[in-house]
């Protein structure tokens, strides 16, 4: 059960870290150093993947930790197997994996592109013509 052991601790550890980050941000805001402390800003950059990692490890905890049951204590995984053929399951698994990597890669690329441009003074707000272009009433 090593995967569950480590995934659970990773999930809880990251959760506590994120909580700590929130409390620290409040303290820094109160001391008016939230936007200028370099150490804090670097810590925030380092914490960026925390949400993704915590979610994936939480998922591992529920899925691996529940084995050998599909419904805990009621239905065993071996008994809940459907009659879908092996070839279809294998094929779809590769397909889903490929799609996941593709979508994740594109999402990451868009995210990094958005982050590349730093915020600056006098950014253009929404155009006054926007309601006309979107059908907002």
């Amino acid at each position: 059960m090593a995967p569950v052991f480590f995934a659970f601790r990773l999930m809880v550890g990251l959760g506590l870290l994120m909580l700590g980050q929130g409390v620290a941000s409040l303290l820094l805001r109160w001391r008016k150093r939230l936007y200028i402390s370099r150490r804090w800003l670097w810590a925030c950059v380092l914490m960026t993947p925390a949400g993704f990692l915590a979610m994936l490890s939480g998922w591992t905890v529920t899925e691996v930790g529940r084995q050998p049951f599909t419904v805990y204590g009621l239905l065993r995984t071996a008994d809940s197997l459907s009659s879908v053929s092996r070839a279809q399951v294998v094929g779809s698994t590769w397909l889903i994996l490929g799609f996941y990597l593709l979508v994740f890669a594109i999402g990451l690329w868009v995210l990094l592109r958005l982050l590349r441009e730093p915020p600056h003074r006098g950014e253009a707000g929404p155009q006054p013509t926007l309601p006309d272009e979107t059908g907002g009433s």
Binding site: S82, S83, S92, F99, R113, G136
Partner: protein
């Protein structure tokens, strides 16, 4: 075995969810298809904008339908899902691609890449529509099962009848999409949508009539139901009325008229399918009553539906109301 009233209510709740899904998401899937076939980039943007605020709310009905089938008719779920494994997987992957293309097309750094993204949107919308038609066609055709287990080879859906249903549904979706664009846009784009809507109406209704005739050859029960004066006659009259409404709708000051007439044709076709199937949930033999879950689950789910359906309807309506104005393509710079 008769169908008891609770089971009937459950079937009605499920049918209502699936129908709402087809009507709502069908329309924005159709817009996705037409968008992919449009050349002008300012028109494509306006078309994307017209469905951006509402497409994902439309898809909540799919979740309700899937969850409802599992909880209300577990036996049907256990037979249908393995039988339709590939079309369902392809449909979900297509929905993911389509959502990504639609939401991120504005982030494409240049026109060439944006065209590629719109190609993905076209492919995803087409595949989703075809897969859904294939699912319905396979259901109507019948799924081999015994003792609550699916006994086919996993490829019954890859036959002429289900694939034809895929074609009909995707044409119908494009028709809904064109009517939607007629409602929501002005000027050139609206005129374009008018022509598309008229052509697609002809194609869809023609295909639909072929489909009804083909359906009657599948099982004796279908032929008897469609031939019955209680079903065939009112359905024929309703079709004529709706098509008259569609044609006349382009003269109405309310530009949503053609869309509502087209949606009416969809409701009619869906109703005919239910009338042919009843009391079966999976032909050739599995009845609603035999596939139903325990009385406790039924009541629990019905209470859930009684809360969820009105809430979902309200937020669907609110979303449509907020973005109910005409979409204007900005002039060239």
């Amino acid at each position: 075995m008769d169908t008891d009233i609770t089971t009937l209510l459950c079937a009605a709740a499920l049918a209502f969810s699936v129908m709402n899904y087809v009507l709502l998401d069908g329309t924005d899937l159709g817009v996705g298809v037409l968008l992919g076939l449009t050349r002008r980039s300012d028109h494509r943007r306006a078309m994307a904008v017209s469905i951006l605020p509402i497409w994902d709310a439309n898809e909540t009905w799919l979740v309700l339908g899937g969850g409802g089938l599992l909880a209300l008719f577990p036996l049907a779920y256990a037979i249908l899902l393995p039988a339709l494994y590939l079309p369902f997987i392809l449909m979900f992957l297509a929905l993911i691609l389509r959502a990504m293309a639609l939401e991120f097309r504005d982030h494409a750094p240049n026109e060439r890449l944006k065209r590629a993204v719109d190609g993905v949107l076209l492919g995803g919308s087409l595949l989703t529509g075809v897969a859904q038609g294939v699912v319905l066609g396979t259901l109507v055709q019948g799924v081999p099962n015994q003792g609550g287990q699916y006994t086919g080879n996993g490829w019954e859906w890859f036959g002429p009848f289900p694939l034809f249903c895929g074609l009909v549904l995707v044409c119908g979706y494009a028709w809904l999409g064109a009517c939607w664009l007629y409602w929501r846009t002005v000027d050139e784009l609206q005129q374009h949508a008018t022509r598309q809507a008229r052509v697609l109406a002809l194609v869809t209704v023609g295909l639909l009539i072929v489909l009804v005739v083909w359906t009657t050859t599948l099982h004796g029960q279908y032929a008897r139901r469609f031939a019955s004066p209680m079903i065939g006659l009112p359905a024929g009259l309703a079709l004529v009325g709706l098509l008259a409404g569609f044609i006349w709708g382009f003269r109405s000051r309310f530009h949503g008229m053609p869309l509502f007439a087209a949606l009416g044709v969809f409701v009619l076709a869906f109703g005919l399918m239910l009338a042919a199937l009843y009391p079966l949930i999976i032909p050739p033999e599995l009845t609603l009553q035999a596939a139903t879950s325990s009385a406790h689950s039924q009541i629990f789910m019905l209470v859930g539906f009684a809360v969820l359906v009105p809430v979902t309807l309200v937020y669907n309506t609110y979303g449509f109301r907020v973005f109910s104005g005409k979409i204007r393509v900005p002039p060239h710079h």
